[in-house]
């Protein structure tokens, strides 16, 4: 085994091992716990950095072990997987620091950080999975590792949310298993290839392929929160905010969206999908989700729930970008995988900071919060403008490419979809910005915890927030540079659509 084989394994284990070790720690060993976490974060960032460099140079990071007949365990760092891996590694770092600050003084931290690390390992495994079997393994691990985080508070409400989460995701996982088994029976589970490996399956198996596609997309659609499979997501808001942040930006929902991208491009391939005419229903569902979830977001009175519905809506951008089967739309979808993650995590970090510092949960309580917490509110504003798609934020780049992609494949209605969606986004985000900056606080804050440091909130809550807000701006401003997510998405698409 040389170093190129070892790196994907290290990428997974750099969070798995600390996670398992953390379980064994006593509650008071906070220093050691933080140390293990940060060690894992550092190792993972370095490994991901090396892999990014390697893949851009044309190196291949791949390791294989026997697993099932016809379906080995493959970890493969290609351009697409690294897109997702880098997102998880960077946001894991931010969220770990945030979570340490957020959970200070609460019980059961060892259990929390243990599962938190395993959750990230599962996400990285999902990203690096080189075939469907490996994908399934980590996808199910993710389901299991996230559950304890969702129910972390241990209240009846949390457990109810957990039940709903499990009901949706375990059912989804089972359907995914069925779909994978159908494909496995047809062609084994070979490695993902750009352009799909199912093109060689004889045409008489068309119905089986159609059923398998429906099973796979339904199974993945649960985590990607396609309507009507999204019911668990707003309920899961009861989890501690760092969990919601990670769930919404990186781990669970992205695993679903990423899986859909994989299935579309590397399992079926654009050609097969066009022959079987399978994408039209998916496009319809995604488009409906974009609009309907935004309407639902408008009705929410709780900040976190509004953010949750906004996630449902934004995730379907990614799905839509992939399902349109055109290179430009694909760039838009892929880059939104990153952009949505960074922007949404900023918004959740802010929501958590409001909650921890001032006890603010409801939108009506946000009046004038910008005067009290100007830095956090600035970060919130950047995230909100990004979500709305106003230049120069990252969100604008995504929408631009998605709309252009719709035109490219001869579906001009997509442009109108994004116009309407943008208006709706503005309708549910801009009032928050207005309230925060320009309304006058009406009453006392629900709970006031002024930190002793003199900062507006705990330092460990503020710094990650500012960091991701800054990233949101930079990704928009420097979108043209080859190093950013946009450049990388174009690299992926160049490899996926050999023209």
């Amino acid at each position: 085994m040389n170093w190129t084989n070892a790196l994907p394994v290290v990428a997974v284990f750099s969070s798995l091992l600390p996670g398992l070790l953390i379980f064994a720690l006593r509650e008071q060993q906070q220093g050691l716990r933080t140390g293990l976490n940060l060690l894992g974060v550092t190792v993972k960032l370095i490994v991901v950095g090396v892999m990014l460099w390697g893949v851009s140079q044309g190196l291949d990071f791949r390791v294989e072990a026997p697993f099932l007949p016809g379906g080995a365990l493959i970890l493969h760092g290609d351009a697409l997987s690294l897109q997702f891996v880098s997102l998880s590694a960077v946001l894991w770092m931010a969220t770990t620091i945030y979570a340490i600050g957020y959970l200070r003084g609460t019980p059961l931290q060892s259990r929390f950080f243990g599962y938190f690390s395993i959750c990230v390992s599962a996400t990285v495994g999902v990203a690096l999975a080189g075939n469907l079997i490996t994908f399934l393994l980590f996808y199910e691990l993710l389901t299991l590792a996230t559950y304890p985080l969702v129910v972390h508070r241990g209240t009846r409400e949390a457990l109810d949310a957990g039940r709903s989460y499990l009901a949706y995701t375990v059912a989804g996982g089972t359907l995914l298993l069925m779909g994978i088994a159908v494909l496995h029976a047809l062609s084994g589970s070979p490695q993902f290839v750009p352009g799909g490996y199912l093109a060689s399956v004889p045409a008489r198996h068309g119905p089986a392929l159609t059923v398998a596609f429906a099973l796979l997309i339904t199974g993945l659609g649960v985590k990607a929160a396609l309507i009507p499979l999204h019911g668990w997501l707003p309920k899961a808001m009861v989890a501690p905010t760092p969990v919601s942040a990670l769930l919404h930006a990186v781990a669970v929902v992205k695993a679903g969206a990423f899986g859909i991208v994989r299935v579309i491009y590397d399992v079926y391939g654009a050609e097969t999908l066009e022959q079987l005419d399978l994408t039209a229903p998916l496009i319809a569902v995604a488009a409906f989700t974009v609009i309907f979830a935004s309407l639902r977001a408008l009705q929410q009175r709780h900040l976190k729930r509004r953010l949750a519905y906004s996630t449902v809506s934004q995730l379907s951008y990614i799905v839509l970008g992939a399902a349109l089967l055109g290179p430009i739309a694909a760039v838009g979808g892929l880059v939104h995988l990153i952009h949505q993650g960074i922007m949404k995590i900023t918004l959740f970090f802010c929501a958590g900071a409001f909650e921890k510092t001032l006890g603010v949960h409801r939108i009506s309580e946000m009046d004038g919060i910008g005067r009290r917490m100007p830095l956090t509110m600035s970060a919130f504003t950047v995230g909100a403008l990004g979500m709305t798609g106003i230049p120069p934020t990252a969100g604008f780049i995504s929408k631009w490419f998605l709309a252009a992609g719709g035109l490219e494949v001869g579906q001009p209605w997509v442009v109108w979809l994004f116009v309407v969606s943008g208006l709706l986004n503005a309708a549910y985000f801009l009032p928050l910005v207005y309230r925060g900056w320009f309304s006058i606080p009406t009453a006392e804050w629900p709970e006031d915890h002024q930190p002793e440091s003199g900062w507006e909130t705990r330092r460990m809550l503020l710094l990650p927030t500012l960091f991701t807000a800054l990233l949101t701006l930079l990704m928009g401003l420097l979108a043209g540079s080859a190093l950013g997510p946009l450049g990388w998405s174009q690299l992926i698409v160049a490899r996926e659509f050999p023209l």
């Binding site: 099932l68 007949p69 508070r153 241990g154 298993l177 069925m178 088994a181």
Partner: protein, 480 residues
């Protein structure tokens, strides 16, 4: 063959020896040590038998006392039998170790009886004629009933039901044997396999024997005795009953239909078995979901999981593809390990939490994390999520179904089974995540017994990582 004989003879000797040792003093501390050690040795011998047998792929016979066919007690060893011998010894070893550590101390009669149970299972596995199988079945049931009684008067009623039903079942089986003997004049299975015809009396005999075996093996719909008996038995006994005892009759059933029965009859029977399996999965799972006590939940889950095995058997007979035999025996192995873990964990919970109720598991992730992990990992294997042994077995059952379009409907049985298992497993696990009540005095854990409960769960939890080799190897083992 000699190794296999040793694996059979050792527990037998121990059963007699411990009985003698018990006479002298009230509770001889040496007895558990001897039994556990002997089980380990028996496991080693079974391993050796498996190695020689699986390598040569050979089938060996032994005529006890040198008598030939009609009079002899014939033993037969195949790779699958060697594997099962090892499995039986392994499960006995795991439960034996736990019983040794158990607080409060287990009744001293546990040791000779469990050794006897081990002996009768080994004999059942090795027997080559259908009458000897009857004898070993009786031995098995009697020692199992006696073991259930060990937990005192509250277990007497379930034990009595178990005894009566078991006797009835044996009678059914014996009548079937008599009919076959009357018709063919032979009892040896290898000889019978060549000459059985699909006529009415054979059909009748096979059905009688099947009914008896299904009753003993608690296969749906003849499972009604199982939950009570498993709930009230002492913890290590419940583990043995669920992990092993019900698999004995299943093994005979498999030989009966897979080796003896004419293919035409087997094909007819297949869909019935498979359908019964699906119903078992759903109804057993539903009962487990509703169960008020932890052990009842685990016991009903055995009923449900046996449905998978029955489905595997049915599909094997019906579709005549070897992979279903692999699935069937993988289910048996995975379920055995998972169930041992679950019952031991359930027993620990009863002692540590001071209640039998499922609702007592509230907050268990915080108060007894290791035990809870054992329960959870074993449960995840029962659901069949990767990378557990349960997943491997489910995959072997599911994947070949999709190769032909007209077999697809059976996959929905697996789908249903997964949903129901997930429901009852996660119902229990979820309770563990409630905030634990704070004001409890610190509990005195026995870390060793907690880890003993966790060990089989870890084994089964990572089983699928050896999946490719295991499936290929099992395909070879189940050939004969």
């Amino acid at each position: 063959m000699n190794y296999a004989l040793a694996s059979l003879a050792i527990p037998f000797t121990v059963a007699l020896l411990t009985l003698l040792l018990q006479r002298r003093s009230e509770a001889n501390p040496i007895v558990p040590a001897i039994t556990v050690l002997a089980t380990a040795v028996s496991l080693v011998f079974a391993g050796l038998a498996l190695e020689t047998q699986a390598v040569s792929g050979a089938v060996s016979h032994l005529n006890v006392g040198g008598w030939d066919s009609p009079l002899a007690i014939r033993l037969r060893l195949t790779p699958l039998k060697a594997l099962l011998l090892g499995f039986v010894a392994l499960i006995h070893l795991l439960t034996g170790l736990y019983a040794w550590r158990a607080k409060p101390k287990i009744a001293r009669d546990y040791w000779p009886l469990s050794a006897l149970l081990h002996t009768s299972l080994a004999a059942l596995i090795l027997s080559a004629d259908i009458f000897n199988l009857y004898v070993t079945l009786e031995l098995l049931s009697l020692s199992a009933v006696a073991l259930v009684c060990l937990s005192g008067p509250k277990a007497y009623t379930p034990a009595l039901y178990y005894l009566l039903l078991s006797l009835g079942a044996s009678l059914c089986y014996l009548m079937g044997v008599a009919v076959i003997y009357g018709q063919y004049g032979v009892l040896d299975m290898t000889v019978l396999a060549g000459i059985m015809e699909a006529d009415h009396s054979t059909r009748f005999a096979l059905l009688l024997m099947t009914a008896g075996l299904m009753l003993k093996g608690a296969l749906w719909p003849l499972h009604l005795w199982l939950p009570e008996a498993h709930t009230y038995a002492p913890t290590p006994v419940s583990a043995l009953l669920s992990g092993l005892v019900v698999k004995g009759p299943l093994f005979i059933l498999w030989q009966l239909w897979n080796n003896l029965a004419p293919e035409a009859l087997a094909r007819e029977m297949g869909p019935l078995f498979a359908a019964g399996g699906v119903v078992a999965l759903v109804s057993g799972g539903w009962s487990a979901f509703r169960a008020p006590f932890i052990k009842t939940l685990v016991a009903y889950s055995t009923v449900a999981q046996l449905g998978y095995a029955l489905m595997g058997l049915g599909l094997l007979l019906f579709l005549q593809e070897r992979i279903y035999a692999v699935a069937l025996w993988l289910f048996v192995l995975a379920h055995g390990l998972a169930k041992v873990s679950m019952f031991l964990a359930a027993g620990e919970m009863q002692t540590l939490l001071g209640s039998k109720r499922v609702t007592a598991m509230r907050g268990a992730t915080q108060t007894i994390p290791i035990t809870m992990s054992a329960f959870a990992i074993a449960g995840i294997s029962l659901i069949g999520m990767p990378p557990t042994g349960g997943f491997l077995a489910k995959w072997s059952l599911l994947e070949p179904l999709f190769t032909q379009a007209n077999h697809w409907p059976w996959a929905s049985g697996v789908l249903l089974g997964t949903f129901v298992s997930a429901a009852y497993v996660f119902r229990a696990i979820a309770l563990g995540f409630y905030q634990a009540p704070m004001s409890r005095e610190p509990r005195h854990f026995d870390r060793v017994s907690q880890w003993l409960a966790l060990l089989p769960a870890l084994l089964v939890g990572l089983m699928a990582f050896a999946g490719q080799d295991l499936i290929a190897w099992m395909a070879g083992v189940t050939q004969t």
